[in-house]
């Protein structure tokens, strides 16, 4: 059962494709980071998955084989949109009441306990809460529905570092306690590194990288060595991205296992998730995908100058 499965998914606004030929299968039980430059189609993909938007091409199913936006899908998925939209003129208690009335499952006890922990007063208007409190309220409402999948679109973009930390702590507690699957889009690469165990990189409306973080890190290495030898070696290696500094070249390579021998005089090291994501974001033509699509996508990548 995949929590989100897209096949040839596309969404067109006017004559522009916001998302195109997107095929993706996200297994359950992960915290999935959806990364990509602005306009890469992250929000579009999430809106399609939660049923806010209808696809222009292809299909998207969620929680096994539920059609996105179908009653079963709505019951199992909780969505917090960017900037956590709440009814500003309703009090926190009213928002709880509203959400309870709009859903089959609602854990009032959990919601009240969480809000008490966060010191968010029930009688305050949603619009009068701070940005961090609004985000926490929206997240609490979503988690109180006891969803199988929690979808967060840029949940931390307007939060200060402390609020970000608290927000992700709430998410990770739910992951630990209930085993909820999480898909979140974000620009905050450093923060994703702490929480995400599955990475999806979108670029120009299609999937560039998808896979478990451990697998991705295991099959990528950075080779550092003298500049003048770089081109010679690069021909034999699967280079994602090359960074030239003073007399040194750092090649981010895909190793396909760990059999690539380190050339004499070169050094190899592991990379971080942030480095990996940045390298792929800099090289929109490179791709790392699981399954059959990988062979097709693995064309020789150019060494960046």
């Amino acid at each position: 059962m995949n929590v989100i499965e897209a096949t040839g998914l596309g969404k067109r606004y006017g004559s522009t494709w916001a998302l195109r030929e997107c095929s993706l299968a996200i297994p359950p039980g992960h915290v999935v980071a959806l990364v990509g430059p602005n306009g890469a189609g992250k929000t579009t993909l999430l809106n399609l998955a939660v049923g806010l938007t209808a696809p222009s091409a292809g299909t998207v199913t969620v929680l096994g084989d539920a059609r996105a936006g179908s009653p079963a899908a709505r019951d199992g998925i909780a969505f917090v949109a960017q900037d956590a939209p709440l009814h500003q003129n309703l009090s926190v208690a009213d928002m709880l009441h509203l959400t309870r009335n709009l859903n089959l499952h609602f854990d009032q006890g959990y919601a009240e306990a969480r809000l008490a922990e966060l010191a968010i007063p029930l009688n305050r208007k949603s619009g009068k809460l701070s940005g961090g409190q609004q985000a926490q309220l929206a997240l609490t409402l979503a988690l109180s529905r006891r969803p199988q999948l929690l979808v967060l679109d840029e949940p931390m973009s307007s939060l200060d570092p402390l609020a970000r930390h608290d927000f992700m702590a709430t998410v990770m507690a739910a992951v630990a306690d209930d085993g909820v699957s999480v898909v979140l889009s974000s620009h905050a690469l450093a923060e994703l590194e702490r929480v995400a165990d599955y990475l999806v990189i979108l670029s120009n409306g299609s999937v560039q990288v998808a896979g478990e973080v451990d697998d991705l890190l295991a099959c990528h290495r950075v080779f550092s060595g003298p500049d003048d030898e770089a081109n010679r070696y690069a021909e034999h290696l699967d280079v994602v991205h090359a960074l030239h500094s003073k007399a040194q070249t750092h090649l981010l390579i895909r190793t396909d296992g760990s059999t690539n021998p380190v050339p004499p005089g070169w050094k190899a090291r592991q990379i971080s998730l942030e480095e990996l994501a940045l390298a792929y974001l800099r090289e929109p033509d490179a791709a790392s995908l699981p399954g059959p699509s990988r062979a097709r996508q693995l064309e020789p990548t150019e060494v960046a100058r």
């Binding site: 809106n47 939660v50 049923g51 806010l52 938007t53 209808a54 009653p71 709505r74 019951d75 998925i77 909780a78 969505f79 949109a81 900037d83 939209p85 709440l86 009814h87 500003q88 003129n89 309703l90 009213d94 009441h97 509203l98 959400t99 009335n101 709009l102 859903n103 089959l104 499952h105 929206a138 529905r145």
Partner: protein
């Protein structure tokens, strides 16, 4: 769900009740006056009647237009439309109580207006009820026009997705519909009657008149010539009779009748007032349901 709608819309509903309550109090006052002073208050009522015309447009703009436009403008649709309840159901659950409230309150005001106006009917002030600027203020039609304005607002909200432009569009569209209805549709709800009686009750709605002689129609220029021969001065539509002319003491109409001309008038009799009310109320009600149905359908399949 009614509780939820109430919590969300209570300010709107409070405003609605306040405005319509004030109008009702005013109508009660005028109605009492009209009864005790034998119709003297008719003047002020005819004046304020014109102001009442804007009430449905305002209700459409302030109650109808924001319902969906505000959710779309503030982004809260991303919250409400992704809850288990479902967006089409949510929209119906929000619209239905508001539509009922708007219709019932406007209907109450409309019937109060009819009560207030009834002493004036047939007097010098009311002239006729079918024509003019009060037909759509009475009982059935006032409720129907208000519901129509609300529905136009709802649909404009989902189409335009912004509150202020949707409010403006609602007022423009509603006013256009009201004018077109008054000028082009209302005269044709039933085929007008034709009478050759020289005078009709002032409560009937005269739509056109023409002359015949010996069963053949006579053009208005021919009539003018006849009158000019008789010594009257015809200037545009008005006839002035010079003293000592062949017209004598007769009015031009009497003169023509005397000389073998027959005047025909097509008119809607005052007795058709309530049938016309129900006809107009009926199709407006159907139109409102169609508009709201379209809005719900757009919410259901809207691709954002």
């Amino acid at each position: 769900m009614a509780w939820v709608t109430w919590r969300q819309q209570r300010l709107t509903v409070a405003g609605l009740v306040t405005v319509l309550g004030a109008v009702s109090l005013y109508l009660l006052f005028i109605g009492q006056q009209a009864r005790s002073l034998n119709g003297v208050a008719g003047h002020s009522l005819t004046l304020t009647a014109a102001l009442f015309q804007v009430i449905p447009a305002l209700i459409g703009a302030f109650v109808g237009a924001p319902v969906l436009a505000k959710e779309l403008e503030t982004g809260t649709f991303r919250y409400t439309w992704t809850q288990g309840f479902g967006r089409a159901r949510w929209t119906v659950a929000t619209l239905a109580p508001l539509a009922v409230a708007v219709t019932v309150l406007a209907g109450a005001v409309g019937f109060l207006f009819s009560w207030c106006y009834s002493p004036l009917i047939g007097g010098h002030y009311g002239s006729n009820l079918l024509d003019g600027n009060t037909f759509d203020l009475h009982g059935v039609t006032f409720a129907a026009w208000t519901l129509t304005a609300f529905s136009i607002g709802v649909l404009a909200g989902i189409l335009i997705r912004r509150v202020i432009p949707a409010m403006l569009a609602t007022m423009v569209a509603w006013s256009g519909l009201a004018v077109v209805t008054g000028v082009f549709l209302r005269p044709h709800y039933e085929a007008p009657l034709v009478s050759s009686k020289p005078t009709l009750p002032s409560t009937d709605w005269v739509m056109s008149q023409w002359w015949t002689r010996g069963g053949k129609p006579v053009s208005s220029s021919a009539i003018d010539q006849v009158l000019q021969k008789a010594g009257a001065t015809v200037n545009g539509g008005s006839v002035t009779q010079s003293p000592g002319s062949a017209l004598g003491n007769m009015s031009p109409t009497q003169y023509l009748l005397h000389h073998g001309f027959t005047q025909f008038q097509s008119y809607q009799p005052a007795s058709r007032f309530w049938p016309f009310q129900w006809i107009e109320g009926g199709w407006l009600f159907a139109l409102s349901l169609l508009l709201m149905g379209t809005a719900v359908w757009l919410v259901h399949r809207r691709a954002t």
